[in-house]
């Protein structure tokens, strides 16, 4: 169906359409600003994520190696028994935060696990290494969730901007142009008609 179907070529309708177009163009500018900001945010996040992920993967590999060697030397039942003595495990709180209206989970550590004086030296070193990176893993998870949601929002905003720029604004412009052309045509007709009537009246007076 044509965008022009149902269009009333009146002055009032033209003003209404112009008002709407100006509002949409302002909204589009805002969305473009949001898109640029989100894109910047995402680029920074991805750079940080790439670096952090590699570091954490490296550290996790080291912890895993330590755990494997502890199992090999102490035996599975002893490792299981020793790890059971660790009480007061990590307690975390997850609350929502927002960037440019995009909500993401923010993790805060309430209490940490206490491992000192409970484990064999082989496991104690592993536990210390794990404790060192555990909070980094939480931060990474938070950052990944944030990046994922920012990317999602960026996609949506981009689609909205594209739709406004390529479909909505051109169609409104087309409608406005159509109405303006119609009104111009009508006013020209009106002028010609006035001239003709004016000419006929003058001739009659003569």
């Amino acid at each position: 169906m044509s965008v022009l179907s149902g269009v009333r070529p009146t002055k009032g309708y033209l003003l209404e359409m112009q008002k709407r177009l100006s509002f949409i163009q302002r909204g589009c500018e805002f969305l473009k600003l949001k898109r640029d900001h989100l894109a910047k945010e995402l680029t920074v996040s991805l750079d940080v994520l790439r670096g952090r992920r590699d570091t954490i993967n490296e550290k996790l590999k080291q912890v895993y190696d330590e755990i494997v060697t502890a199992y090999l030397v102490l035996g599975p039942s002893e490792v299981r028994s020793q790890t059971s003595s660790v009480r007061d495990g990590y307690q975390i709180d997850v609350l929502p935060k927002s960037v440019m209206g995009v909500r993401y989970p923010s993790i805060s550590v309430i209490s940490r696990a206490k491992v000192e004086g409970r484990l064999d030296p082989a496991l104690s070193k592993t536990a210390s290494l794990m404790a060192e990176i555990f909070e980094d893993v939480l931060r990474l998870a938070e950052f990944e969730a944030r990046a994922e949601r920012v990317a999602d929002e960026l996609g949506k905003t981009n689609r909205k901007v594209n739709a406004l720029e390529n479909v909505v604004i051109p169609s409104y412009s087309q409608v406005i142009k159509f109405i303006q052309d119609k009104l111009d045509e009508e006013s020209l007709e009106e002028l010609v008609r006035t001239k003709l009537i004016g000419g006929a009246a003058a001739r009659r007076r003569e």
Binding site: T69, P76, S124, K125
Partner: protein, 345 residues
């Protein structure tokens, strides 16, 4: 040599056939999966019926412990009284202390949300009351009280320290002290040349564990020193040196003053900070030392003692290999951290 000792030595020579040979170990190491590993193990002296076959590495560990304890009890049953008593203390009491620590750990954090199972080593209590009664105690205080009538009565002295430091090591220190006291008693009943062998192993093990404990303390609590009874037994590495180690002295400097054996055992700690490799080196040293003593006197106490050390080392190696196969750990890593007795021998 007494007829009793001759008889025990001959029986031990016969029992050596139960040790796995290098070819079997090679096949075990090369097994691709845990099932394949168990299939190979089933063709050895560790064969089990199909319905009792351990399905996991944890079950395998329990089974291998059972086999080791059965062999130990067999040797104890035909050994002369003073050697039998020594073997019971040296091998079984350590297992009992491990069990007691496992019970304590379970009582230490009863409110945690972790699902846990208690895997006790299948050894009958030597000096403590039955484990079932210890498990019935709801608190550590109850546990310590239950040990009051046993040789572990001094554990109560560590209770306040355990509460003060919110840690388990004080209880472990007192349990190990009970072992040292008892072991010293039974070692004095051995012949002087046999005493030297056992004391050498005991001293090396104690010193290495002390060094590891000191380094572990340094890593976490460097700003405060441990209480005076943190190292109740120390031999070649003195308590003073251990304190220096905690205060930041270099391990290389400390071991330099001791002997070549300590340098070799503790080398991974100096270079790689690898506690597990130190433990592996210690195990290898004990095995090699016992074997060396046997080659010098294959018809006396060293023959009995080295056989048990070999059985224990073999058991630990099989547990590690079984777990490694279950978790698909690389062969290279398995071999790095495992002491394969017959292969070394």
């Amino acid at each position: 040599m007494s007829p009793g000792l001759s008889y025990a030595v001959i029986r031990c020579h016969a029992m050596r056939a139960e040790l796995l040979n290098p070819a079997v170990f090679k096949t075990l190491v090369e097994a691709k999966t845990y099932e394949e590993y168990m299939d190979v193990l089933n063709t050895t002296s560790y064969a089990t019926g199909s319905d009792t076959r351990p399905r996991t590495a944890l079950e395998l560990e329990g089974f291998l412990n059972q086999v080791f304890i059965a062999r130990l009890q067999r040797i104890v049953s035909f050994s002369p009284q003073r050697i039998a008593e020594f073997l019971r203390i040296f091998f079984l009491m350590r297992l009992e202390i491990q069990n007691l620590m496992r019970i304590v750990r379970l009582r230490f954090s009863p409110d945690s949300g972790w699902t846990r199972t208690l895997a006790l080593i299948p050894v009958e209590p030597l000096f403590s009351i039955p484990y079932g009664r210890l498990l019935e105690q709801g608190t550590i205080e109850g546990f310590v009280e239950a040990l009051e009538p046993t040789i572990y009565k001094d554990v109560k002295n560590g209770l306040n320290m355990a509460k003060q430091h919110d840690a388990l090591w004080p209880l472990e220190v007192y349990l190990n002290s009970a072992f040292h006291v008892r072991a010293s008693g039974v070692i004095s009943g051995l012949d002087p040349s046999d005493r030297v062998i056992v004391r050498e192993i005991l001293k090396t093990e104690t010193d290495v564990e002390n060094v590891l404990a000191a380094l572990s303390w340094r890593r976490k609590l460097r700003d405060r020193l441990p209480p005076p009874d943190f190292f109740p037994y120390a031999y070649r590495v003195t308590p003073m040196q251990l304190i220096e180690l905690i205060e930041g002295a270099s391990l290389a400097d400390i071991t330099k003053t001791v002997n070549q054996v300590y340098i070799r055992i503790l080398e991974p700690m100096v270079e790689l900070d690898d506690v597990s490799l130190v433990r592996r080196n210690l195990r290898q040293y004990v095995y090699e030392y016992a074997e060396r003593c046997r080659t010098q006197d294959d018809f006396g106490f060293p023959c009995i003692f080295s056989l048990l050390v070999s059985f224990e080392t073999e058991k630990d190696a099989l547990v590690a290999l079984g777990w490694g196969k279950e978790q698909r750990i690389s062969t290279e890593k398995l071999l790095r951290y495992t002491v394969l007795p017959s292969v070394l021998g």
